[in-house]
């Protein structure tokens, strides 16, 4: 257990938790008072929150950029669909199986890939995801290029909304728990200096693999829920690199390694994409590009990262005065 006095933010249950619970309650009752199209907007916003947050669980906490993130999403989607269609089990069970499959894949590839660092890791993961795409496209076991369609009997937009809300909420909660656990502490150390972390007894290989697996699990859950909503899964949509890039952009804009950051990023970027995408299809790419460039040049830590570092700065001055 952590000793409270060491944490940057000491738990204050009321102040810390109330806004989150409030947001959750608002979202939980949203289907009763918003239009169906807004509900559909919120559903996909929640999907992006879940995705950028599960991206954040690994990349934000360890600093390893996972450019093959979409592989987890796609495997979760395929796992969910195939178990649902063949075993005829409840959707939530199929989703969990999808998450587990994705997670097992992450563990399996963690040994070779997590030894690589920086650009090598990024490129290796990007290639792995691309290779998965090509393999699935040719693999009859997964219906090759044709993929699967979820039968109409499973269509239920309100239920889909609640499932996605649950996935997003659990992902955020999990990130919160991780960040305040021994695992989070170890990852924080690994991110800042892996060599030192290892030298004080932290088993970096193990903790990184665990974070990788957890990230994959939630991305897989989100992939399953998304596939159920989209009703169709085929290799180009399941392993679309754009999903990785969007998750990266969202968590970066908001601030990697923070809880609120990826959520803010998802809200901003998905809104932009939704509005501009509907009316001016290419303009949103231009806006996306400019936002990323501006963020990297001006606020490389993202919106939340910037807020936190300013907070720290003011605290530092305070400490300086006291000392």
């Amino acid at each position: 257990m952590l000793k409270g006095y060491l944490l940057v933010h000491k738990k204050n249950f009321v102040r810390d938790v109330v806004p989150w619970v409030g947001a959750l309650v608002v979202l939980a009752f949203a289907p009763y008072f918003v239009s169906a199209s807004l509900r559909s907007f919120l559903l996909f916003l929640l999907m992006w929150i879940a995705l950028s947050q599960s991206f954040n669980i690994f990349t934000g906490l360890t600093g390893y950029v996972n450019f093959g993130f979409v592989a987890f999403y796609g495997l979760g989607g395929y796992g969910m669909t195939m178990t649902l269609l063949s075993l005829n089990i409840p959707i939530y069970a199929a989703m969990v199986i999808g998450g587990v499959i994705s997670s097992l894949f992450a563990f399996a590839i963690s040994w070779p890939t997590l030894r690589l660092r920086g650009a090598y890791f990024a490129i290796a993961m990007l290639s792995l995801a691309q290779a998965l795409f090509v393999i699935f496209d040719n693999w009859n076991f997964v219906n090759s290029a044709t993929g699967y369609t979820i039968p109409v009997k499973y269509y239920d937009p309100v239920l889909q909304y609640y499932y996605m809300l649950a996935v997003a909420a659990v992902t955020v909660l999990c990130l919160y728990v991780i960040m305040n656990s021994r695992l989070g502490l170890a990852l924080k150390a690994i991110k800042q200096n892996e060599e030192t972390a290892v030298s004080i007894g932290i088993n970096a290989t193990f903790y990184k693999a665990v974070a990788f697996g957890i990230s994959a699990f939630f991305a897989g859950l989100a992939g399953g829920a998304a596939t159920w909503t989209i009703t169709i899964i085929d290799p180009p949509s399941a392993f679309d690199t754009t999903i990785t890039l969007t998750a990266i952009s969202m968590s970066m804009l908001g601030g990697l390694g923070t809880i609120a950051g990826p959520i803010i990023g998802a809200v901003i970027l998905y809104s932009i994409e939704h509005y501009f995408g509907l009316t001016l299809p290419y303009l949103h790419l231009i806006v996306f590009g400019i936002i990323i460039i501006v963020v990297v040049l001006l606020i490389p830590q993202g919106i939340m990262g910037e807020i936190i570092s300013r907070m720290k700065k003011s605290r530092r001055q305070e400490v300086g005065e006291e000392g």
């Binding site: 070779p112 040719n138 790419l285 996306f288």
Partner: protein, 291 residues
């Protein structure tokens, strides 16, 4: 129908793979020089290729300029564009973590893609230049691919000359080898970075011109070129220009010969799988030398 003997077929596939591989290699050289000098992974590399292709396309459409001649246009333009991109954007993240340059160039890639789509629509463009093939007995070697290979060799020779015979080339090599020592002996690293980024982009956009001889392009093709370059660069070792050429040839030949055994739809996976294996077994690339 004259049927080609299997031996001749293998020879033909080998030659085709070799020539494609040379072009791949030169394409990747641009990327690897930039990485070697600045430790910047340029995700927008392929998009600069497409810019070169569009330049050649318009030169052909508006003035009837042959894509080969338009190299005279795309090389200086690419250099200028690269230098400006470096001065305006890349320079600011050069000392930040690798991650930041990765994100920045990803932003540039998205922006270029978006701008091209906005102005030129996603329609594919091609230049109707028809070149035949050269026949040697039962071998038929396409002229356009031969031109591409010849161009690649020319670039490789020019780069070799630049790296070993000119002051700036030696400076670039020195910076790739050891940045700190290079600075200590009086090399201006910013100048080296500027020039290498310019050269990297000039290579990319000139390959774009050559690509117009081979295939159709659209604003969306950029990332495909980036991916191919990544595979090659990793095969040859990041930041190792001669390695990139070797990596390109290996990839080209393996892809071409594997087509005898593997359905074409699986071909793109071959490069990725080789690359992942190489990364695991020899992270320094197949050329073997570290750094």
């Amino acid at each position: 129908m004259p049927s080609v003997l299997p031996g001749a077929l293998v020879a033909e596939l080998f030659i085709l793979g070799l020539m494609y591989g040379l072009l791949y290699g030169v394409l990747a050289m641009g990327l690897t020089i930039v990485f070697g000098v600045m430790k910047v992974v340029n995700v927008a590399h392929g998009d600069f290729v497409i810019i070169g292709s569009y330049l050649s396309y318009w030169a052909f459409v508006l003035a009837g300029i042959n894509p080969i001649l338009s190299l005279l246009l795309t090389i200086p333009f690419g250099f200028l564009l690269g230098a400006l991109t470096y001065l305006g954007l890349i320079r600011r993240v050069q000392n930040s973590p690798e991650l930041m340059s990765l994100f920045l160039t990803f932003g540039i890639s998205t922006l270029i893609g978006g701008l091209l789509l906005f102005f030129y629509s996603p329609t594919q463009r091609a230049v109707p230049v028809a070149l035949g093939s050269i026949e040697y007995g039962s071998l038929s070697i396409p002229v356009n691919i031969s031109i591409a290979a010849a161009y690649a060799i020319a670039v490789a020779i020019a780069l070799r000359f630049f790296f070993y015979r000119t002051y700036w080339g030696k400076a670039v090599r020195a910076v790739i080898d050891n940045r700190t020592s290079a600075i200590l002996v009086g090399i201006n690293p910013d100048m080296v970075s500027l020039k290498s980024f310019g050269i990297g982009i000039a290579i990319a956009s000139s390959v774009g011109s050559i690509v117009m001889l081979l295939q159709s392009i659209s604003p969306l093709s950029g990332p495909d070129f980036t991916l191919i370059s990544f595979v090659i660069v990793v095969l040859g070792g990041l930041g190792n220009p001669p390695g990139a050429l070797v990596g390109g040839v290996v990839l080209g030949v393996v892809e071409s010969l594997s087509s005898l055994y593997v359905n074409a739809a699986m071909t793109p996976a071959i490069g990725f799988i080789i690359m992942v294996i190489v990364l695991i077994l020899r992270p320094q690339g197949i050329m073997g030398s570290r750094g």
